[in-house]
Each structure stands twice: as structure tokens, then as C-alpha cells.
Subunit: 303 residues, 2 copies
């Protein structure tokens, strides 16, 4: 294996991803596990990390490990106190160092960002935003970062000006798997035309949101409704409601979705249904860019 | 024990309640269990019923057992096909008879009601409405029946004119116990002033609904928030969203809440926060009134 200079970690609530980085910021190794922050006690973080990267670590020196995400929450490995928006996403202070037993590890956890009014928080997305701005230094506009908790972030002058979080992804999962609506859904892909229509209708008549949920079940019982249509209705209703509340973030903005896969595509389709033309950028790429930028800052400062 | 002439059942998704009724429609015996429709296979209904009422049954004749609720759903004991609104809630046709083995049982399951446009369904509430109208024959206005799935029902000319269902109760339960918001709540009672303010704000600015959910968690992290305040925010946001969509049912209407306990009080407080003055009526009372009315109809027809 090629020499690993440092290790990048994206450590969220549900998953842990690790990259071993060699010369010229090249990826030399990659690994992932389901040992997210949500299932670990404080003493479990170091073993969960070593389970992935033990073989990557040289014996004779400490290897810098740069982590972002919920690993820095109060209930994580070590609390990395929030920085406060408006601020640059650049990761220059408030970095936290957890206690480690293995002498080969030098772990640094990057801080999240909080907003006081209205109250909001992010952990991990600030690193993606820093990575995005590394590639797009003069960007002004809105970033949408889909996820279990989707973030909308206004960027100007290289700073996070303000942001807003929606728990749409979590709500979809709960309703689709545990509510009475589960009887109407299956693993089928959603009907894209039905989805676009539902997003537009929900965003236009936001006051009718609440009635649209049970209506999915009722229409299934009274008229028959395919699982693909029911899924489009549920997803479209929830995202339409989010877009109604996030309107000032996306209306006629320079708009970029930072994401991967089906969820990012779903947000793009929803925005197109409302007449917007979002660009897309790869979430893994910007995460690693942000962690790399932080690494150079930390390694440079300690050199 | 006094003689039991017939047995009334309120058999919902989660619970089974039984009343043994004697002369002059008096309650002679009562029992309840958690053997709701949701946990029973078809073959399990008769044993679940006998477990409650076996001792009530005379040996020499069949006893009429009149049941309402989800027991009549397709996945229940026997499907009692929906009647179609607009219609009287009176239970004169489409009564279903499940197969029973015990010769002492003559079970009758009352049908629910469906609405075609917009699609909606009820099972059990039609019996409560029939009971309410027995006591209030000339009622014109709106009934609100809080529950896991709350119904709003417009009554005119002794008929169910139209109705709308909201899954607010189920949504509250899922969010309070399984989402990230569970970290902000506990068993504390909700802050009533905060609740009223949240209902009013959410109903007035329905397009902001989606952002209010994660904001509860964020405010807890950034500013601190008591569990009583967080619970008021979550409940007030969900019920405020429901009231925004049900506005044509409750605005300046003759308005009666059919319910019991904390949930009915919560709806009353929400409506008062929007300037309404709902009356309250007891749900168990009207359920039994409705079942009694059905019994007399069925017993009379077969006499």
C-alpha cells in the first residue's frame, strides 16, 4: 500500500467513512462502516475507528486524523463547540482533540456552526461548504444539502450568512415505515410526474399540508392508488412543504444542490417543478475537499 | 350479576372495550383489553372477545353483540363495506356478520363511511356521530373527533355532509418518541401559554410549518428549552397545521368536540387560541348511545 500521510473522516449519526490520503492529496485507501455516532458510547469511538484504519497507520509516528460531523456533538467522541454564523466555513479555530490510547493517533474534530436567531445548528455541512467554496471561491447564492436533516445555506462574501434545517428526510422515513401510510407504500420508485404535481400543489397551497397525509391512505382505500403514486404523494407533500418554508432561499437564486444519488435527484426534481434550475455537485467530493483544506491548515499551523 | 340482554363493543385498532347492557339500556358490566384489530389475525377475534365476555353470556340463547370500529375493516374480523357520504350516520344497512364458533354469539359489525371526493374514510366515528345526534337531533355544525386520526365532520339535516381526517395524533407520537425531537421532550405536561401561541402562529403562517419542527431541537441546543416548552411547540405546530387545513370546518361554526381527557382538552385549547368556543361531549357516552341505537334497530328488525 502507498504511504498514507493523514486520514479524513466523515463521522455522522449513522455512518463512518474514512479516506487514507497520500502524496498530492490523493486517496490511497477508503473504508466505511455503520458505526455512526448514534450507536456509540464515548469509549466506543476509538475502537470503531481502529476497526477501519488500524492497518493504515505507520508504527513510528502519529498520523493526523481529521474528522467532521456528529462525532463532535456533546454526545459524540469529544464536544467541538459550535462556531457562530455569520462566519466563514473555514475551520480555523475551536478544533477539539479527543483522548486516545493508541500512540499512532492524533485525532482532530472540526467544530459545527450555530445560528442564534432563528436558532439552528449544523455539524459536517460546514466542512462540505468549505470544500465547495475551495472550488468556487466567489460563489454567491444558496446551497441545498439534502439529508436526514436537509440544510439550506445562504452564502455571500465567502461566509455562511444564514441557514435553515428541515427534518423532511427523517419525517419521510418515519411515515413511510411506521405510520398507517406504510400500508400504501412499497419499495417501488416514485411516479415522477405525480411527484412534480404534488410538490407544486403543496408549495402553492401550504395551508393544506396536514390534510394531504391521511388523504394518501384514504385514496388508497376508496379509489385504489399504486405504491408508486402513493410514494410520490408522500415525498412530494413533505418536500413541497419544505420548499414553501424555504422559498426565500431558492427563489431566483444561484442554486447548487450538494448531494448524491436518489435524494439529491429528488430535490432537483422538486425545484424544477417550481421553475428553478439547480446545479448539482457531488457531496463526497466536497466533504473530502473540506477535510483536506482543514488538514493543510492544521498541519501547517503545527509545522 | 344482573341479566345481560346484549353486548356493545368499541373495537378499534389498539383497544377493545365491551359493555354488557341490561334492562332499560343500563350498563351491567364493563371490560376492556389491548386486543385491538391491529394485533389480531382473523382467527384471533373470537378468542379475544370471549376472553373479555365469556362470563357474561347466558347458555340457552344467542346474545346479540354489536360492534363498531376497525373490527369491520378489510384486515379485521369481517369486512363491513363502507356506506357513502353524504348520508345519515344511522346504521341501517351493510351490517356484517362474522363467522363464529361459539353458539352463544350473534355478532354484528357496523359499517364505516367513505367519501369519494376528496377520498376519506371513517370506522367507528359514524357510530359516535349517530349517538351524538340521538341526543341532539337538530344539530347543525361541525363535530371534531380527536384521536390518532382526528376527524372533522360537517353535519346538516341529520346527515354527515362531508368530513376530513388528519393523522396529527400519529405524527405527534412518532416525532415525540422516535425522531431527533425525542431528545428535547419528556413526560412533562406541555406549557399551555406556549402551546396557544404556537397554534396561533402556525395557523397564521402555515407556509412556515416545515421549518418549525427542527427548530424545536435547534433552540434546545442553542438557547436551552424546557421539555414543557418543547412539547408545547411540537403539539402546537402539528395541531396548528391541522387547524389551518380544517379552517372551513371550524370558523364561526356550531362546534362540538367529541372526546375525552387530555387530547380533547388540547384541541379545545387550540381552538380557543384561534378565538373559537367549542363545546365538549363525552366520547364514551356517544359511542354507547350509537351502539344502543343500532341494537334497537337490529333487534327490532329481527323481532
Amino acid at each position: 500500500m502507498k504511504t498514507i500521510d493523514w486520514i479524513a473522516l466523515d463521522w455522522g449519526t449513522s455512518n463512518l467513512r474514512a479516506w487514507g490520503i497520500g502524496a498530492d492529496d490523493r486517496i490511497v485507501a477508503e473504508a466505511a462502516s455503520d458505526q455512526g455516532m448514534g450507536r456509540l458510547e464515548r469509549a466506543g469511538f476509538e475502537p470503531a475507528l481502529l476497526a477501519l484504519i488500524d492497518g493504515w497507520l505507520p508504527q513510528r509516528r502519529r498520523t493526523l486524523v481529521i474528522a467532521c460531523g456528529m462525532v463532535g456533538a456533546r454526545q459524540g467522541w469529544v464536544e467541538a463547540p459550535y462556531r457562530q454564523a455569520p462566519c466563514a466555513p473555514v475551520l480555523s479555530d475551536a478544533i477539539a482533540t479527543p483522548d486516545t490510547e493508541d500512540p499512532r493517533l492524533a485525532v482532530k474534530v472540526l467544530p459545527g456552526i450555530k445560528q442564534l436567531d432563528p436558532p439552528d445548528v449544523m455539524r459536517g455541512e460546514e466542512t462540505q461548504i468549505a470544500g465547495f467554496l475551495t472550488d468556487n471561491e466567489t460563489f454567491e447564492g444558496t446551497l441545498c444539502l439534502p439529508g436526514t436533516h436537509t440544510k439550506w445555506v445562504r452564502i455571500a462574501g465567502g461566509e455562511i450568512v444564514r441557514f435553515k434545517t428541515f427534518m423532511t428526510g427523517e419525517l419521510f422515513h418515519l411515515l413511510a415505515t411506521q405510520s398507517v401510510l406504510r400500508h400504501s407504500l412499497d419499495d417501488a420508485a416514485l411516479d415522477t410526474a405525480e411527484f412534480a404535481g404534488t410538490v407544486a400543489a403543496t408549495a402553492a397551497e401550504a395551508h393544506r399540508f396536514a390534510e394531504r397525509l391521511f388523504a394518501i391512505r384514504a385514496e388508497g382505500l376508496v379509489r385504489g392508488l399504486t405504491a408508486a403514486t402513493a410514494k410520490a404523494r408522500l415525498s412530494g407533500t413533505l418536500i413541497g412543504s419544505e420548499l414553501a418554508a424555504a422559498r426565500d432561499f431558492w427563489t431566483d437564486q444561484n442554486l447548487v444542490i450538494v448531494g448524491n444519488g436518489a435524494q439529491a435527484e429528488t430535490y432537483a426534481a422538486a425545484l424544477r417543478a417550481l421553475g428553478q434550475s439547480p446545479r448539482m455537485t457531488d457531496a463526497s467530493h466536497v466533504t473530502l475537499r473540506g477535510l483536506t483544506s482543514a488538514y493543510h491548515h492544521i498541519a501547517g499551523a503545527s509545522a
